[in-house]
Amino acid sequence: MKILVCISVVPDTTTKITFTDSDTTFNKAGVQFIVNPYDELAVTRALEIAEANNGSVTIVHVGEADSEPSIRKALSMGANEAIRINAIPVDAQFVAEEIAKIAEGYDLILTGRESIDYNGGAVCGLLGALLNIPSINVVTKIDYNGGNFTFDRDIDGGRETLTCAGPLVASAQKDLCEPRIPNMRGIMAARTKPLQIIEASVSNQAANYQSYSLPAPKGSVKLIDADNAGELINILKNEVKVI
């Protein structure tokens, strides 16, 4: 069982987002970067399945050298090896096209449900189509019975249970597992695990990020007296006209 897990490296969830160069570039100053939270779940579940089936887990990341601490973190969780495709990850299509070139020969490929920075939720489906294999989005459960994989996945207003044989790609959603915390032995071992660096080669970029903006700031809150809470209903009905 060979498993490939795609990880993106994103600003910590508490980051206050700002931009520089006339709003054309995300301001990295003082920002702490982490492994995308959904991707940590993907790594953890991949390791559990690989450990139970005598398999191996490879990590792939499209990014620059400054994301190596996050790649090492995935290795310290227990992954066997990693590949970094050296490029600025501009958008989901670029990332997926780069990953597709190294993604043949795996029984299972996992991504996160979405990256919490660019929120495309697209890499899973893109990889599925590029590799011509099934893609299964937002999975909350993955089991392997020796032949097929079974999944639970979120759908609008509910959940669906599916079966599919590999190779396939699936995207990890909360509830899949508890993220594994690296232990000391894992951290030591990760230092010497193989990390291969490949240069990016996709040229025909599908999208260019041109500029960014922030939501308009809210005016100050209008407080309603707690003793007269029913007044809120009146305001929502007659002033805001939403109910």
């Binding site: 600003p11 969830t13 206050k16 987002i17 958008d91 989901a92 299509q93 919490i116 920075d117 660019y118 929120n119 495309g120 939720g121 697209a122 489906g125 893109l126 599925g128 189509a129 099934p134 893609s135 989005n137 937002v138 909350t140 979120d154 759908i155 609008d156 207003g157 509910g158 959940r159 249970t161 079966t163 599919c164 044989a165 396939l168 909360k174 509830d175 025909n204 970029q205 599908a206 999208a207 260019n208 990020y209 041109q210 500029s211 960014y212 939501p215 809210k218 809150v221 407080l223 309603i224 007296d225 707690a226 809470a229 029913g230 809120l232 209903i233 929502l236 805001v240 939403v242 109910i243």
Partner: protein
Amino acid sequence: MSIVVFAESSENQFKKSTFEAISYAKEIGTLMSKEVVAVNISSIANSAELGKYGASKVLNCSNTDGFTADSTSEIFASICKQIGASVVIVSNSYVGKSLAPRIAVSLNASLATNVISVPDLSNGFTVKRGVFSGKAFAFVNLNRDIKVLAITPNSFEINANGSDCATESVSVNASPSKISINAINKVTGKIPLTEAELVVSAGRGMKGPENWHMIEELADLIGAATACSKPVSDMGWRPHSEHVGQTGITIKPNLYIAIGISGAIQHLAGVSSSKTIVAINKDPEAPFFKSADYGIVGDAFEILPKLIHALKN
């Protein structure tokens, strides 16, 4: 060449987000002088009503096998190719986000998900999309000839000025899906959170799941969906499908009422695009009050009965 919309449906009815997508497509169609074709891959036979929202024609492709990413997108891509799609629109829903990337690859198109406005065509094709979980927006230029857009529910007004349109049936030979659906568990009759116009949400301040009947009663009275903060779903007080925020669902309703939720940055990330925000919290220093339009400082257990009472009268 035309603007093609995937007419998403659920339980044999087109979704509200489909009407939004068609209204949106109509606006692009007018800008680009192209007609709008809706594609209905479902078991719904009567689809002429989609004309009201701006479709010139609906192509019905009868499908009783249900939705699977591989096979449904193969069918849809093949229809898009037949009719020469130049822009393909889906909703930014679970279904739409499973389809859009696969369609983009099949059509060698540029893809943008989370799109929240009509493209700017003055210099290429530039869309505005939500990034950083609602904390910012990006303006993205799509370079390839064909574009696939997934548009965020509640970002675009429904425009129902048209009338019923022509429908045609099409059949497509697609390979059977490699994915088999074993079971579907859906809460029927409830508004999906991502599409809800009104949302009542509650946090740890509600003390325990046994107190949620008040949240549900308030939601029912105004026809809202219910949501919750992350700890509430982590503790199993509420299903995780209700969890909103940076690591949950991002929503954009017209009204978001937050009860007993502190307003942590990760929570706000998922809800701050809501048009009107009401915070109810006993702590006057709760950060939510800085992001709210209306606020009540007080105990939820005293305020909720007052709101329910006011609605009943």
